[in-house]
Amino acid sequence: MAKSKFDTSLLGHIADLARIKLSPTEIDTYSHQIEQVVKHIDRIANVDTKNVDPTFQVVDTKNVFNQNKPNHLPVKLATSTARSTHKNFIVVPASIEK
């Protein structure tokens, strides 16, 4: 089983993946707290799961198909909670450098 010490450098990497800016204090606190949680959970590796299928849905589900008809909020209403809009579009900060 892949195990690693949950230190501050690993937490920094994970925070980057999760796109959350953390303060140095938060990094210290969370790395300690999360290490405790992960340590507790690590015992799950000892369970014999050979030939056991994973469960992703607990009750048997089947595909559900809807009629191919648009059924959505009007664009103006759908964008009404956005921080900034322009002609029915949501305005975002620049994503490409000039």
């Binding site: 089983m1 892949a2 195990k3 949950f6 690993l10 937490l11 994970i14 925070a15 993946l17 999760a18 796109r19 959350i20 800016k21 953390l22 303060s23 938060e26 969370y30 707290q33 999360i34 405790q36 949680v37 992960v38 507790h40 959970i41 015992r43 799950i44 590796a45 369970v47 799961t49 056991v52 299928d53 994973p54 469960t55 992703f56 849905q57 607990v58 009750v59 589900t61 595909n63 559900v64 809807n66 909020l73 209403l77 759908a78 964008t79 009404s80 909670t81 956005a82 921080r83 949501i90 975002v92 900060p93 620049a94 994503s95 450098e97």
Partner: protein
């Protein structure tokens, strides 16, 4: 003066038709009580006085015109603030969604409005329902009405506190790992976590999509049955909602005879619980036994692994679900960002509460390259073992009985800085969510400190009718559910 403490859903409808009081009288009585009591317990984030009075007036108009009334006419509900309510602020207990006004409503809430229920307000919750005490709310901590120095449980702690405080007729919650049953137990009210898929998840902020189970709190099983009969059923907006037919649960409350009922006691659920919790649960077992139920010891050896599976899979699903909170389409966002990615980092860093960040970070870690097989896949396989273990034991018994929580309510602040201890508070509720089974939390007495104790009846898939029937009959011969705190 209307006696709010003794009202049931059926009585309210009956009283409206007999013109004993109007829906407006009732809504005003609840709103007055909220104004008097809520400052002490802080159950509500938003009080919807205007909407409540408008809805009440519409019901009174229907009565005047002789129009047909809905099945929940006049009943006043408190709604956990993760249910989207059109035109009413929905915060999910997080600063991230402060001032967010949804453009549409959750299916369950809408179905209840369609039956002439009235909304009184939105109740406090741990941020996005992540927690067991409401201390993780981005706004404030709700206090347990039995002792305001104690937590009410969580995450649906605001709804449970409103229910026992007589601030509503019934309340809505969600149960991803115990968030209905545990606060119901800690506050002394009746709460049902239905089978996964029995109630639609549409329009409820997603926590863990393969676990989330919306449900309700009430004063008794009869009211829960009435509510579930309206909320349950397939919803085209939630592909995982079940197409299994919905019975009229309220008509089936005497369906199951306690005589000869096979009740399984999973021994692992009685290990490590406080003596008072164990004693009250065992006293209730004797009550069932006296009624002719057959008590059968059973074993669920993987019980302790439930918490491990839960705290792998749920943060993984959370990390995926929370990716949508980018600060662009809804919710709060920072004003000073250099570019798009910077906006994501700063917005999520500034407005997400600590528990929200912790769970996203844990889930991101388990799903990251090199760890997926060891954690997510392994936990998904152990989930299968837990599910199979329940199915095996349900061949021997009709339902299972166990304590809900290893302890009664604990002091505010005691566990808030120790996430692992807070997670372990869910040890007796999460295995049921891992398997997706239904479970009913029933008050069963008080501990030596005067705090409520709850027991849970665990059923096989889609046996809510059986659980509610057994719970109803238990409440016909006991008065634990009628006990109220002095407020």
């Amino acid at each position: 003066m209307i006696d709010l403490a003794s009202l049931t859903i059926n009585q309210i409808r009956f009283s409206l038709l007999k013109k004993e009081f109007t829906a407006t009288d009732l809504a005003k009585a609840y709103l007055a009580r909220i104004k008097q009591i809520d400052p002490k317990i802080k159950a509500f984030i938003t009080i919807t006085e205007t909407e409540a009075l408008l809805q009440a007036q519409a019901i009174d108009d229907k009565i005047t015109k002789g129009q047909k009334l809905g099945n929940l006419a006049g009943s006043c509900m408190a709604v956990k603030d993760i249910y989207l309510t059109k035109d009413i602020q929905t915060t999910a207990g997080s600063q991230l969604l402060k001032d967010y006004i949804p453009q549409y409503s959750s299916t369950i809430y809408q179905r209840l409005l369609n039956q002439d229920a009235i909304i009184l307000g939105k109740t406090n919750t741990d941020t996005f329902a992540f927690g067991a005490s409401t201390e993780n709310s981005g706004f404030f901590t709700t206090k347990n009405p039995w002792n305001t120095a104690m937590v009410p449980g969580g995450s649906s702690g605001g709804s449970a506190a409103a229910q026992i405080g007589d601030l509503c007729t019934f309340a809505l919650g969600t149960d991803t790992g115990g968030s209905i049953r545990q606060p119901a137990s800690l506050c002394g009210v009746t709460g049902l976590k239905p089978t996964y898929g029995r109630n639609s998840r549409y329009g409820i902020t997603a926590m863990a999509s393969s676990f989330d189970a919306p449900g309700a709190f009430a004063s008794n099983c009869q009211d829960l049955a009435t509510v579930l009969s309206q909320t349950a059923g397939f919803d085209p907006f939630d592909a995982t909602s079940s197409q299994i037919e919905v019975p009229n649960y309220a008509n089936l409350l005497n369906k199951v005879s306690l005589k000869g009922l096979k009740i399984g006691l999973p021994k692992q659920y009685f290990e490590g619980v406080e003596p008072d919790v164990k004693a009250r649960t065992e006293e209730s077992i004797k009550i069932f036994e006296k009624q002719g139920a057959q008590i059968i010891p059973i074993s669920l050896p993987n019980t302790n692994l439930g918490i491990d599976v839960y705290y792998v899979l749920v943060p993984c699903e959370i990390s995926a679900n929370m990716a949508r909170y980018d600060g662009l389409r809804f919710g709060q966002s920072v004003k000073d960002s250099d570019n798009l990615v910077d906006l994501y980092f700063k917005t999520r860093g500034k407005f997400m509460e600590p528990e929200l960040k912790r769970r996203i970070l844990i889930g991101t870690y388990f799903l990251s390259s090199g760890y997926y097989d060891a954690y997510y896949l392994q936990a998904s396989k152990v989930r299968t073992l837990i599910k199979q273990e329940f199915q095996q034991e349900f061949k021997k018994v009709d339902l299972m009985l166990a304590p809900v929580s290893p302890t009664t309510a604990w002091p505010i602040g005691q566990k808030v800085n120790d996430p692992l201890q807070m997670y372990l508070a869910d040890v007796l509720t999460v295995p049921i969510n891992v398997a997706g089974l239904p479970a009913l939390s029933l008050p069963c007495g008080l501990d030596s400190k005067g705090l409520p104790v709850g027991l849970q009846l665990i059923g096989n898939y889609f046996t809510e009718d059986k659980l509610l029937s057994v719970g109803h009959q238990f409440q016909q011969i006991t008065d634990f559910h009628l006990k109220k705190p002095k407020l």
